[in-house]
């Protein structure tokens, strides 16, 4: 590629002011002798100038207020969700510590032994197994009941 061709490829960026000092010098030197490139350069400069003066869209009235209201609303929703998650976590913790506490009391009250059908119910393992099974079955039963209830939504 000769000098003319390579400079021509740089003219667009030159007109837009995006060339480094070395490249710019090359272009200017060539343009001094080449009328074609000089004209082209002027056209590109006009384009760059035109691009800086495009008709401006005007922001609709009240945009700031509406946006601000929306942001505040979103923040409230997010805060509500955080609170909800915190509540559920606290309840779960409460449930489990309560269960352990109940076991401690049961153990104390029965003196460490409470046999039903040959199984010591207040033994740690037996208690945790029994309590877990009980919790899951009752929760599953409730969930099924509620699931059917959802179809008749207004009765919930």
């Amino acid at each position: 590629m000769n000098e003319h061709e390579s400079v021509r490829a740089m003219l667009a960026l030159a007109g837009a002011g995006l060339l480094g000092p070395d490249e710019l010098r090359r272009v200017e030197e060539h343009a001094r002798t080449c009328a074609l490139c000089r004209a082209d350069l002027e056209t590109w400069a006009a384009y760059a100038q035109g691009l800086r003066k495009l008709p401006q869209p005007s922001a609709p009235a009240g945009l700031t207020e509406r946006t601000r209201a929306k942001i505040i609303q979103e923040q409230a929703v997010a805060a509500g969700r955080r609170r909800h998650a915190w509540l559920l976590g606290a309840l779960a913790a409460f449930g489990w510590t309560g269960s352990v506490a109940f076991w401690v009391v049961a153990r104390a009250l029965t003196g460490g032994v409470f046999t039903v059908m040959g199984v010591n119910l207040v033994n740690g393992l037996a208690w945790s197994l029994g309590s877990t099974v009980l919790a899951w079955t009752t929760a599953a039963a409730a969930a099924m009941m509620l699931g059917r209830g959802r179809e008749m939504r207004r009765f919930l």
Binding site: H84, G95, G98, F155
Partner: protein
């Protein structure tokens, strides 16, 4: 934290009474029967769980009532499902608060487009099928009709 206080006000006085009586009763009972050293601390902390449980049950009862839910069913679920799973289910599934109809003042569910008592409009509704719609929607989610700028 003031939000917490507001919610606490929902708990009926009966629940507070039962909780306090149970708490004091348990502490007194354990102090009388086992007045040993470390038991004292234990006997103060333990009944706290029971008291909190009673207060939570009271909250679920009153809150379900004010949201138009089946409060008896939910109270029983809260009491009898172990490990607080009943409470967790309640908080996940509870309905939004009721709101007053601007025309007749009856408390109605938030999702309604028209008041069940007086028929007054409560929210934007689809011109075609009358279902409740949000103002920013461009189509009704029930019947698909196009909505003009509301």
């Amino acid at each position: 934290m003031s939000r917490f206080r507001e919610e606490m006000k929902v708990i009926p006085r009966t629940a507070w009474a039962i909780a306090i009586i149970l708490y004091v009763g348990f502490v007194a009972f354990t102090q009388m029967v086992w007045p040993h050293g470390w038991w004292t601390l234990f006997s103060i902390v333990m009944p706290l769980f029971l008291a909190i449980f009673v207060l939570l049950v009271g909250y679920v009862n009153a809150d379900a009532r004010r949201r138009g839910m089946r409060h008896v069913m939910w109270t029983l679920l809260a009491i009898f499902i172990p490990n607080a799973i009943g409470f967790i289910l309640y908080f996940i599934m509870r309905e939004p608060l009721l709101r007053a109809c601007p025309a007749c003042g009856t408390m109605v569910s938030q999702g309604f487009a028209f008041c069940s008592k007086c028929g007054g409009a409560l929210a934007h509704s689809c011109p075609h099928c009358r279902a409740a719609v949000q103002p920013e929607w461009s189509h009704c989610t029930k019947c698909g009709a196009g909505l003009q700028a509301l």
